[in-house]
């Protein structure tokens, strides 16, 4: 299911809830629309900036290019490189699997590949300013740092289990 269809399902569900709320309490529903619209407008410039930045990263520093750099023989270094590559990449998890598959096929260390996928989904260097704006810098930095370290540790555990 692509992201557009997922969004459409979300939107239909939310619209139905609004329809129900409008019928029961029009004033509350109008207030909810106002709150949602205001939050969205406040964050829209930041969202636009983040997406534009994603485009720059994709074009000037594509994952395929970084992938070449981390085909190193040093295991610990490749583990860190895998996690860092995942952290600076952005996109649906679906996009990380083929890249990770290529890495494994080319003989990359499995823990490094696992760290790459985990960091891809859970750590967001590019979205960090957005996360900090919402939750505050302290939470954003702690969460991303801890998750990055955890991605490497879980990668190592995975390597031990398999």
């Amino acid at each position: 299911m692509n992201i557009f269809k997922i969004g459409l399902i979300y939107l239909i569900l939310v619209t139905l809830t609004y329809y129900w709320l409008f019928r029961h309490d029009g004033r509350k529903a109008a207030k909810a629309v106002k709150i949602g619209a205001k939050s969205l407008l406040n964050l829209l410039p930041l969202l636009l900036a983040v997406f534009a930045l994603v485009g720059l990263f994709q074009e000037f520093l594509p994952p395929e290019l970084i992938e070449k750099f981390f085909g190193t023989g040093h295991k610990l270094l490749s583990l860190m490189a895998g996690a860092m590559l995942g952290a600076v990449s952005i996109g649906p998890p679906l996009a990380s699997y083929p890249i990770a598959g290529t890495m494994l096929a080319e003989g990359a260390w499995p823990p490094a590949v696992a760290a790459f996928i985990l960091a891809w989904i859970s750590v967001g260097v590019i979205t960090l300013p957005f996360e900090a704006k919402i939750f505050g810098w302290r939470f954003a930095l702690i969460r991303n740092s801890i998750t990055l370290i955890a991605a490497m540790l879980m990668g190592l555990l995975l390597g031990g289990v398999l």
């Binding site: 692509n2 997922i6 969004g7 459409l8 979300y10 939107l11 569900l13 939310v14 619209t15 809830t17 609004y18 709320l21 509350k28 529903a29 207030k31 909810a32 629309v33 709150i35 949602g36 619209a37 939050s39 969205l40 410039p45 969202l47 636009l48 900036a49 983040v50 997406f51 534009a52 930045l53 994603v54 485009g55 720059l56 994709q58 074009e59 000037f60 998890p93 679906l94 699997y97 696992a114 996928i117 985990l118 989904i121 859970s122 979205t127 957005f130 996360e131 919402i134 939750f135 302290r138 939470f139 702690i142 969460r143 998750t147 955890a150 879980m154 555990l157 995975l158 289990v161 398999l162």
Partner: protein, 195 residues
């Protein structure tokens, strides 16, 4: 005039947008073709998640208006115990789409009394993708996909609690409240909603 000033001030506050604009000017000077391709990629990506973003913000409004602070506090607050943490784990697992679109929604739930661990667990559990498991297995093999998913299920709650432990303790702050009954038994607690 004052409205114009406030709009101007609002634009000047958008530091991230200015920074990215400067980066694009640099990119344009290096390679106009690549800069244009980057902008097109960004716009396409934004367009693809726009619907989900609108839906999430609409849901944020609904939650703020419809769901009470007491309800969130008792379900996801500090007094909710293991139940709240497990709910966060299930929510993070089942929710789909990019994690960053859910940030505003999570913060509104947090302001309504949810604990930091709940926010952190949802974001960690985001990497559990049961619906994607067959695709992941196709590229990386079933053992890899299953062990990776299992590890996150095991680690999500300890990680969330550790992240919360590193945050300031809200239970001692003025924002935090605890409701007790006459015998002193804790009924519910959470953070007071910011005005």
């Amino acid at each position: 005039m004052s409205k114009f000033n406030s709009i101007l001030r609002w634009w000047l506050r958008q530091r991230m947008l200015w920074m990215v604009t400067c980066l694009y000017l640099w990119a344009w000077s290096v390679s106009p073709v690549k800069a244009f391709a980057a902008l097109t990629y960004g716009i396409h990506l934004f367009a693809s998640v726009l619907i989900i973003i609108v839906a999430v913000f609409a849901l944020t409004g609904l939650i703020k208006v419809k769901i009470g602070r007491d309800f969130i506090s008792s379900l996801l607050g500090y007094g909710s115990g293991v139940k709240g943490l497990l709910i966060a784990l299930v929510c993070g697992t089942l929710m789909i789409g990019p994690a960053y679109v859910i940030f505003p929604l999570l913060m509104s739930v947090k302001r309504l009394g949810a604990r930091w661990a709940v926010v952190a667990i949802v974001l960690v559990a985001w990497a559990i993708k049961p619906q994607m498991l067959p695709i992941e297995a196709q590229f990386l093999g079933f053992p890899f996909a299953l062990v990776r998913t299992g590890l996150i299920i095991i680690m999500a709650i300890p990680l969330g609690l550790f992240i919360e432990w590193l945050m300031p303790d809200e239970r001692g702050s003025a924002k935090f409240y605890v409701k007790e009954n006459v015998s002193g038994k804790k009924l519910k607690c959470g953070t007071k909603q910011e005005a």
